[in-house]
Each structure stands twice: as C-alpha cells, then as structure tokens.
Assembly symmetry: D2
Homo-oligomer: 109 residues x 4
C-alpha cells in the first residue's frame, strides 16, 4: 500500500536540514537563503507545473507537482507545520460539499 511514510521521512530530513551547514545539501543551502528563496521556488515550480500541463506532458507534470509539493513541505517545515496538518485540513473539508466550499471561499477571499 502506498502511504504517507515517504512524506514523513522527507519531513524529518527537512527539519534536520533547517540547521545543517548550508553547503551540505540543496535543502540546507535553500533554508540558509531564507523564506523568500523558498517562496521564489514555489512560484517557479507552480509555473513549471502550468507549462507541463500546457505541453500535455504527463510525466513532466508529475515531476513538477512533486517539486511543487517538495518546496511546499520545506516552507511548512520552516513554520513547524507539515504534511499531517495538510492532510488534517483535507479531512476537515471532506464534510463540506463543493458548493458550500465555494461559498466559503467567496466569503473568505
């Protein structure tokens, strides 16, 4: 069964690398550059996700969504939250119908 274990393992590594030597890994060097640098990567990976979709390239799309989620997890770890909080939020929303959810969005945004 495919489960969340890989994301939990990744998160543990991300947390460790927040305080590791900047030149020891990609993640450590990006954390050392600060939050704005992680945010820039999220914007860049979102753009690449969009371009992969426009190209109709399914494999590339999966890679870019993985990159996008990876950098989302880095940003979450920076704020001491993680994949369990996102999954819990998905669960909370399960009880809310699509149309109700849309109204909530409309009211919130």
């Amino acid at each position: 069964m495919i489960d969340l274990e890989v994301l939990h393992r990744l998160q543990k590594i991300l947390v460790e690398r927040k305080t590791a030597a900047p030149d020891s890994s990609y993640v450590a060097s990006l954390y050392a550059k600060g939050i704005d640098s992680i945010c820039k990567k999220i914007a860049e990976e979102a753009a690449e996700t969009i371009m992969a979709a426009k190209d109709g390239d399914r494999l590339h799309l999966v890679h870019e969504v993985t990159d996008l989620w990876f950098h989302s997890l880095m940003l979450l770890a920076q704020f001491d939250v993680g994949v369990d909080d996102v999954v819990a939020e998905f669960r909370r929303r399960e009880g809310i119908s699509g149309i109700d959810e849309k109204k909530r969005r409309g009211a919130e945004k």
Copy 2:
C-alpha cells in the same frame, strides 16, 4: 494513523466530477472551464501560499498549501494521473542525495 486515504477518496471524487454537470459543484464548474482555469488557480494559490508565509500566519499557510495541493490534484486528474504517481516520484528520489538532486536539476532546467 494519518494516511493517504483522504487523498484517494478526494481523487475518486475529482475523477467523477470531470464529467459532471458544471453547475453541480465547484470542481465540476472548474473542470468545465478547462485546463487554463485550473492552471490560473494554481498560480493564485501559490501566490497566497507565499503571502501567508510572508505574514508568518501558520494556520493560513496550511490552508493555502491545502488549496495548492487540491488544485494540483485536479490538474493531475485531468491528465489521468494522481497522488500515487507523486508519492512514487517522492520515493524514487529518496535514493538520491540532496547535492546529486541539485546537480540533476541544474542539468535538467
């Protein structure tokens, strides 16, 4: 144990709504508008994720990352792929060290 079941249930719903009446739900209406509309939402949610991080608002950040992943899953479903493909890609990368991964990225992009 928190696992991927909620994302599998969501994906099943997304796939069903790809062909549902546009006015029946938020998801059905967004699918009816086409891929560009889903892509625009991804750009918008990425921007909101960035702004929540800049605000240092952890709860808002979790909500926006959930929105970002939700619309990523919609885009994946449009191309008949899904969360298992992303998780499989995370697993594939587990064997690759951070620095090697960075080199691969450099070569690829």
Copy 3:
C-alpha cells in the same frame, strides 16, 4: 509618436480611485479589497502571460502583458510610486552591461 502619456493618464486615474467608492469601478473595488488582492491578480496575470506564450498566441500575449503591467501600476500607485520610477530604473540600468547585470542579480538574490 507613441509615448508614455497614456500611462501617466492611467496613473492619475489609479491614484484617484484609491479612495473612491468601492462599487464605482473595477479599480476602486480592487483597491478596497487590499494589497493581497492586487498581488493575487499579478500572480494570475503572470500565469496568463505564460499560458499565452505557450499557446503561441501573440495577440493574447499582448493583452495579458497589458493586464500584468496594469496591475503592476495599481500596486506601485498603492505605494505612491509609478511608471516614472520604473522608467528611471530602466535608464539607470542602461549603463550596465548584461553580464555585469547578471552578476549583480546573482549577488543580490
């Protein structure tokens, strides 16, 4: 001769609408929603610019870049700066060669 006058006229209107009744125009309503809403529009128009480029649709590209610049001007006006400041910055950079500029970017970012 095509000059900047149209952008100066636009900027004058934008400044007036910062304090106008929210339901009096698109610009007034967006200003009333606050900076985050203008920022979301910038992210959205950037995505639409990218998608127009991917479509190879030149006319659409011009429209989306116009939308992107329009909302950039709204954001600048929010902070009491404007098109002249951007043009002045373009002028300042004229004396800097491309490679030097790239080094500066590398050092800055």
Copy 4:
C-alpha cells in the same frame, strides 16, 4: 520629459540578442535557453514583486516591477511584438470604463 525612448532602445537590444552567442550576455543566454526559461523568470519576478509589496519596501518594489517588465519585454520580443503594442492596448482601453472593462473580463475569462 521621461518618455518611452529607453524602452525602445532596450527593445532594439533585445531583438539583436535573440540571435547573439549565448555566452555574450544575460539576455542572449536566456533566449538560448528558450521560451520556458523566460516564462519561469516572469513567474519568479512576479513572486518577488509580491514579496516586495508584502515587505512594504517601495524601492525594492520598483526594482522588481522593472525586472518583471524587462522579462515581459523579452517574451514579447520573442514573438515579434513589443512595448508599442502594449501601449497601443492601454490606449484602446482608455475609452472603456472600469465597470465595462470588468464585465468584459468576466465574459472573456
């Protein structure tokens, strides 16, 4: 008088560099990498514009909007259009009231 001359001069340089040796300048190297690379820069500069606004840093905001417009001009030049086309589109819209424009957007998007 501050006018568009600097943007016309820039555009002339951009067009020349579309076919220049990739290692001769930042612009030539980015053109050599292709449209997707220019699009990624647009997404990145849009994110930096948003972050400068969130920081309330007016000078940084002007720099990032300049970067955003610079890469927009690169993308336009790639498709043989340019600043005059954008200015012409701004002029065309001058005759359209804000509310009408909003309706048009609603219908178009």
